[in-house]
């Protein structure tokens, strides 16, 4: 029974748990319940990845209706891999959030917080697993609404403006995606992604399809905060509760990157997007600018959360750069970095949240002397920071390594060099914080305050991520195997479909188009 329903369970488990968490009401109950559910979802997604790696693809027809008439859930190596990262981070963040939330969110809102977190998890899982373009939009709405709520829950009033800004931008993004899906439906008459892919290939030069592609790409770019559509991200990450920032920074934008990959590689096809529409160059240019502009912005901020937020936008640049190289190794670099960046940013934001818990502020000057007062937290921050820079033996190095290799494979020397120069910025912005923590003295005014290490409930999830940063930096077999089969799978389905169309298996579509042209003329 479990195996039969493996694909649908990671979505409906948190979906059903969310209203239950609201009914539970008491903070401690809803915390325990949410953590348990998220942990179960993690175990399920582990199974799902194992199944996807061995069997290739799992298809699940919701309601028993075969696709394209009903909604299909479709699990392959690509989305199972991202789902594993999302559920793992969610579980760790939930463990971490108990104390962090007690400090940063009003007590009356605690059960609402855990409900919103579960809704967000359900939405993200739904986006990842679904094989239906409109269903993806529905889950995008769930996760987005939950995200705005989570951001607005901080006790700092500035989070409200940040959440509002995020809401406006996010809604525009979602509307663009909806318009795009609508245009595709108008031209193809289907919403199932695979079916869409087959039928889109019949109308390569259609303006309607191309406009649909443009709307979807812009909408997804807003969601993943691709430069220059990233303006909502730094304030939202700065003013949200620390646990929320840790969760969103390592999952929400990654899921949006996955959506972009899915639309480019599965639905529209590489030839259409990169050859006919020439989007590769646009994406690559934006990615490079994002890496430089936002890495630079990160070096001049004084709030550590803002520093890390800008760093996130820069890292998104790396992700998009990888996929804009249009090769198996480039895509693989992106897939690995989705996973690795979740590990790094999760650990970093958790450490910053721990500092906020004790010090009550996250300005760089308040980090002075914390290396002695909070040794474990700052050690975690340092290791995760080294990982962002890309020091060997950390996951950051693995990511950069594959990205540079992918660039060199295509003789893109300049891109490879730019990636390495980008890392130098990371040295500066991480270095400033570490310098403050270890080489500056605790100010006199603070020495009387009782600043000590945070509780193990916050330290354990943080250190799990830090150890994962090192473990997957040394033993890369799991990440590279999953990422490699994911990207090979994405390329393979793409070429499979093209062959199918060439052989003329889907001729009925042609007939329809011809008829339609007759009518219009």
């Amino acid at each position: 029974m479990l195996e039969q329903h493996l694909a649908v369970l990671p979505i409906i488990l948190p979906l059903i748990a969310a209203p239950l968490a609201l009914i539970l009401g008491r903070s401690i109950f809803s915390w325990g319940f949410a953590t348990l559910v998220s942990g179960l979802a993690f175990l399920l997604s582990w199974q799902l990845l194992a199944a996807a790696l061995s069997d290739g693809v799992l298809s699940y027809a919701v309601g028993g209706w075969a696709p394209p008439w009903g909604i299909e859930l479709r699990v392959d190596a690509a989305n199972a891999f991202v789902l594993l990262a999302v559920t793992a981070i969610s579980t760790l963040v939930l463990v971490y959030s108990k104390h962090s939330i007690e400090k940063e969110v009003k007590a009356a809102n605690h059960s609402l917080f855990y409900t919103a977190h579960l809704l967000c998890l359900a939405g993200l899982s739904g986006i990842l697993i679904t094989g239906d373009a409109f269903n993806l939009f529905v889950f995008l709405e769930i996760s987005s609404l939950a995200t705005y709520t989570l951001v607005s829950l901080a006790s700092d009033r500035r989070c409200l403006t940040a959440a509002f800004r995020y809401l406006v931008m996010g809604t525009i993004g979602a509307t663009f995606i909806l318009i795009g899906v609508g245009l595709l439906y108008m031209k193809t008459g289907t919403l199932n992604m695979l079916d869409l892919a087959e039928r889109i290939d019949l109308y390569d030069s259609s303006r309607t399809i191309n406009t649909g592609l443009a709307f979807i790409m812009v909408g997804v770019s807003i969601k993943l905060a691709l430069f220059p559509l990233h303006m909502w991200l730094p304030p939202a990450y700065t003013h949200a509760p620390s646990a929320v920032t840790a969760f969103l920074a390592s999952t929400a934008t990654k899921v949006a990157v996955y959506v972009m990959i899915r639309f480019i590689f599965t639905v529209f096809g590489i030839d259409h997007v990169f050859v006919d529409m020439g989007m590769g160059l646009i994406l690559m240019a934006l990615a490079v600018v994002a890496i430089f502009k936002c890495s630079y912005m990160a070096t001049v901020q004084s709030n550590v959360k803002t520093v890390l937020a800008y760093s996130s936008v820069a890292q998104i640049g790396y992700l998009v750069l990888g996929l804009s190289l249009v090769s198996v190794s480039g895509l693989m670099a992106s897939m690995i970095h989705i996973f690795n960046h979740a590990l790094m940013k999760g650990a970093l934001f958790m450490a910053v949240g721990a500092v906020f818990y004790r010090v009550g502020s996250v300005d760089i000057k308040d980090f002075a002397g914390l290396g002695r007062k909070m040794p474990l937290t700052m050690a975690a921050f340092t290791i995760a920071g080294l990982s962002i820079i890309g020091v060997p033996l950390t996951v950051g190095f693995v990511s950069k390594w594959y990205l540079v290799i992918a660039a060199l494979e295509q003789d893109q020397w300049l891109v490879a060099a730019l990636v390495l120069v980008g890392s130098l910025f990371a040295v500066i912005y991480i270095g400033r914080i570490i310098e403050a923590a270890y080489f500056q003295k605790l100010p006199e005014s603070r020495s009387s305050e009782n600043i000590k290490e945070v509780s193990w409930l916050m330290l354990v999830p943080m250190w799990v991520l830090v150890i994962a940063n090192i473990y997957f930096g040394i033993d890369t077999s799991l990440t590279t195997e999953a990422a490699n089969s994911a990207s090979e799978w994405l390329f393979q389905t793409n070429s499979m479909l093209e062959n199918k169309v060439m052989e003329g298996e889907v001729l009925e579509g042609h007939a329809i188009e011809e008829k339609a042209q007759e009518v219009s003329s």
């Binding site: 529905v138 318009i179 406009t211 219009s520």
Partner: protein
């Protein structure tokens, strides 16, 4: 003739939109939004999309207008002068509009039976759904059965909305009991409300259970029922409305609706089918579909009702507080 009507309606729609942009009085803007929704409902009606028209009228023109008006009670009526330059937004809007026009230039001929939309998945819905699902209203068959997972998602979206509103505003119970609230001295309104409210609730129930046969269903019914309670709260005051259905109870109801919907899915899994496979609910698949759709529509109705009313409570209690101060 139909084209002429469309053209007139679309022109009115454009005029309304333009007026909305330039008006500074937010109360008038809300009213125009209501008109805008009614015009869109008429266009949908002209396209023979009766279900969509009904939803647009009840949600767009009905409940959202009420919710926006309550918001105005908190925030004030006049739009503040914007300090931003509007050149960049104008540019973005122009580019988006141009892209949309460009995209529709070679769209399939409007309303033609040979269009992909009518040729690919739709024939199965039209030809088979009376046999497979057994409902005369195909729109309900598609929404509740073929794409029931989407509708579950939409119900959860509505649920997420109330989570957001509650976390921001919360529903405050008033402390001073003797405070004048509602429109208690208006005798005429009282009498009219007493006549209208039972009829509205009856109509909501009709819409709820008639969705299988004609336009209607949980979304519209929930909204209409919430409107009846909102009318009650407006005229008799929030405390009296709280005595009928309290905010805490509504929170439970909103959760219960989602759970009711999902439990149908879990039960069908327990019976050996896929999630939300209503065929498993009874020995006769068509009867099973019928049971499934009635229950999930009820879940949708309960959640939508509870969420809409609770959002009104949250705004309303905030507005009363700011009026007192």
């Amino acid at each position: 003739m139909a084209e002429f009507i469309d053209l007139v309606l679309l022109a009115m729609l454009a005029l309304t939109a333009l007026r909305i942009i330039f008006l500074k009085d937010l109360f008038a803007v809300v009213m125009l939004f209501g008109i805008y929704s009614f015009l869109s409902a008429l266009i949908f009606l002209n396209l023979d999309a009766v279900d969509v028209a009904f939803t647009e009228a009840s949600v767009g023109a009905g409940i959202s207008t009420v919710l926006m008006l309550v918001t105005l009670a908190i925030t004030g009526r006049k739009e503040k002068q914007s300090t931003h330059s509007s050149l960049l937004p104008l540019f973005v809007v122009l580019v988006t509009g141009a892209a949309l026009i460009y995209g529709t230039l070679d769209m399939p001929p409007f309303g033609h039976p040979d269009n992909p939309v009518h040729q690919h998945v739709a024939p199965r819905y039209i030809e088979e759904s009376p046999k497979e699902v057994g409902l005369p209203n195909m729109v309900t068959s598609v929404l509740a059965s073929y794409r029931g997972f989407d509708t579950l998602g939409e119900t959860v979206v509505v649920f997420s909305a109330v989570i957001g509103v509650l976390s921001l505003l919360g529903v405050r119970r008033k402390k001073k009991k003797d405070l004048e609230s509602g429109l208690e001295s208006h005798r005429v309104l009282h009498v009219v409300a007493k006549i209208i409210i039972p009829l509205v609730i009856l109509f909501a129930l009709y819409v709820q259970f008639h969705g299988d046969f004609g336009p209607g269903g949980g979304f519209q019914a929930g909204v209409i029922a919430a409107a009846a309670f909102i009318l009650y709260a407006l005229i008799l005051g929030l405390p009296k409305a709280f005595a009928v259905v309290g905010p805490r109870f509504l929170q439970w109801m909103a959760a219960a609706g989602v759970l009711l919907y999902a439990s149908v899915g879990l039960y069908s899994m327990y019976m050996g089918g896929h999630f939300l496979d209503y065929n498993q609910l009874a020995t006769d698949p068509v009867a099973g579909q019928h049971y499934g759709i009635i229950i999930i529509e009820l879940g949708v109705g309960v959640t939508v009702f509870a969420v809409m009313l609770n959002i009104f409570y949250a705004f309303g209690s905030q507005a009363e507080r700011s009026n007192v101060q």
